[in-house]
C-alpha cells in the first residue's frame, strides 16, 4: 500500500495500516533519536513519545509536508528539550577551530576502508567525536548527511534558514573530520 493510502486508512481507524506506518518509520526514528540523544534508553523513550504523538495527531495530518519531516521534527524537539535539561557544555565551533590551518599537510584517507568502523573500538571514535558536537550542529549533520534530508527540509525541521543550515553543516563536517583525523592520521 502507498504511504498516502496507509495514512488515510490509519486516519480512518485501521490499526493494521497504523502498524504498517509505525514499522515503516521505526528504524529511521530510532536511529535518528539515538544519534541525537546518544543513549539507547533515551532513544527508545523518544521513539515511543514520537509515535504516540503521531498516533494522537494523525487526524490533523494534512499531507502538505512529508510524514518523515513531521516525525523528524518531533524527535528534534524532544531531544533538544531533554539535552537542554542536562545543560552540558559542548565544544564551541563558532570560530575557526573547525577549519584546517592554512598550509597544513592533509594526509590521504583513500587507503582507509569505509567499513573499518565495523570495529567496535573505532566505532567509539565516531561516538566520541559526535558526542562533543553540540546538539544543534549534530541534528543538522545527521539529517542532512546521514539521513539524506534536503537542505530545505532540514531548515523546516530545525526552524533554520537555508544559509544557517549550510553554515552549521559545514562546521559540523569539518569538526567531525578533524576529530576523527586526530586518531586516523596518527
Amino acid at each position: 500500500m502507498e504511504e498516502a493510502q496507509l495514512i488515510s486508512s490509519a486516519q480512518d481507524g485501521d490499526k493494521k495500516a497504523l502498524a504498517e506506518l509505525v514499522k515503516k518509520y521505526e528504524k529511521t526514528v530510532y536511529n535518528f533519536s539515538f544519534k541525537i540523544c546518544r543513549n539507547p534508553e533515551k532513544a527508545e523513550n523518544t521513539m515511543q513519545e514520537t509515535f504516540m504523538s503521531m498516533v494522537k495527531s494523525l487526524g490533523q495530518f494534512d499531507g502538505k509536508s512529508k510524514l518523515s519531516t513531521w516525525l523528524y521534527r518531533i524527535v528534534t524537539n524532544h531531544c533538544l528539550m531533554e539535552l537542554r535539561k542536562k545543560k552540558r557544555n559542548f565544544v564551541s565551533i563558532d570560530d575557526d577551530e573547525a577549519d584546517v590551518p592554512e598550509g597544513a599537510f592533509i594526509p590521504d584517507w583513500n587507503s582507509i576502508p569505509s567499513n573499518i568502523f565495523e570495529n567496535t573500538e573505532l566505532k567509539n571514535i565516531l561516538d566520541e567525536a559526535i558526542n562533543k558536537l553540540s546538539p544543534e550542529y549534530r541534528i543538522v549533520f545527521v539529517l542532512r548527511d546521514v539521513n539524506g534530508v534536503s537542505t530545505e527540509e532540514t531548515g523546516k525541521i530545525t526552524g533554520l534558514s537555508v544559509p544557517a543550515v549550510k553554515s552549521r553543516l559545514h562546521r559540523a563536517r569539518s569538526f567531525l573530520r578533524n576529530e576523527i583525523g586526530k586518531v586516523l592520521e596518527k
Binding site: 490499526k15 509505525v22 577549519d99 594526509p107 582507509i112 573530520r177
Partner: protein
C-alpha cells in the same frame, strides 16, 4: 596554491557545498577545477566524504524488546 581562481582556504570553506548540491554553480566549477590540481585539497575533500560515509554506515537495528514495548504502548501488539 595553483592557478585556479580560488584559494585553498576558500576551497576548504566551501567544499561542503560541492558535496551534493549546487554542483554547477560557478563556485563549484572553480572548486572542482582546483581539486583536480591541488592534492592537499583533494585529500581534504576525500576525508570529509569518508567522514560522512562512516556515519552513514553506522546504523542500529531496533532491539526486538524495544519494538515489542513500542507496539504494546501504541496498542498495536498482536
Amino acid at each position: 596554491m595553483n592557478e585556479s581562481n580560488v584559494t585553498c582556504k576558500e576551497v576548504m570553506n566551501h567544499i561542503c557545498d560541492s558535496l551534493g548540491e549546487d554542483l554547477d554553480s560557478p563556485k563549484c566549477v572553480a572548486i572542482k577545477s582546483h581539486l583536480s590540481e591541488c592534492s592537499n585539497c583533494r585529500n581534504y575533500f576525500t576525508s570529509v566524504e569518508k567522514t560522512i560515509k562512516f556515519y552513514q554506515m553506522y546504523n542500529l537495528d531496533v532491539p526486538e524488546e524495544s519494538h515489542k514495548r513500542l507496539m504494546k504502548k501504541l496498542g498495536l501488539d498482536e
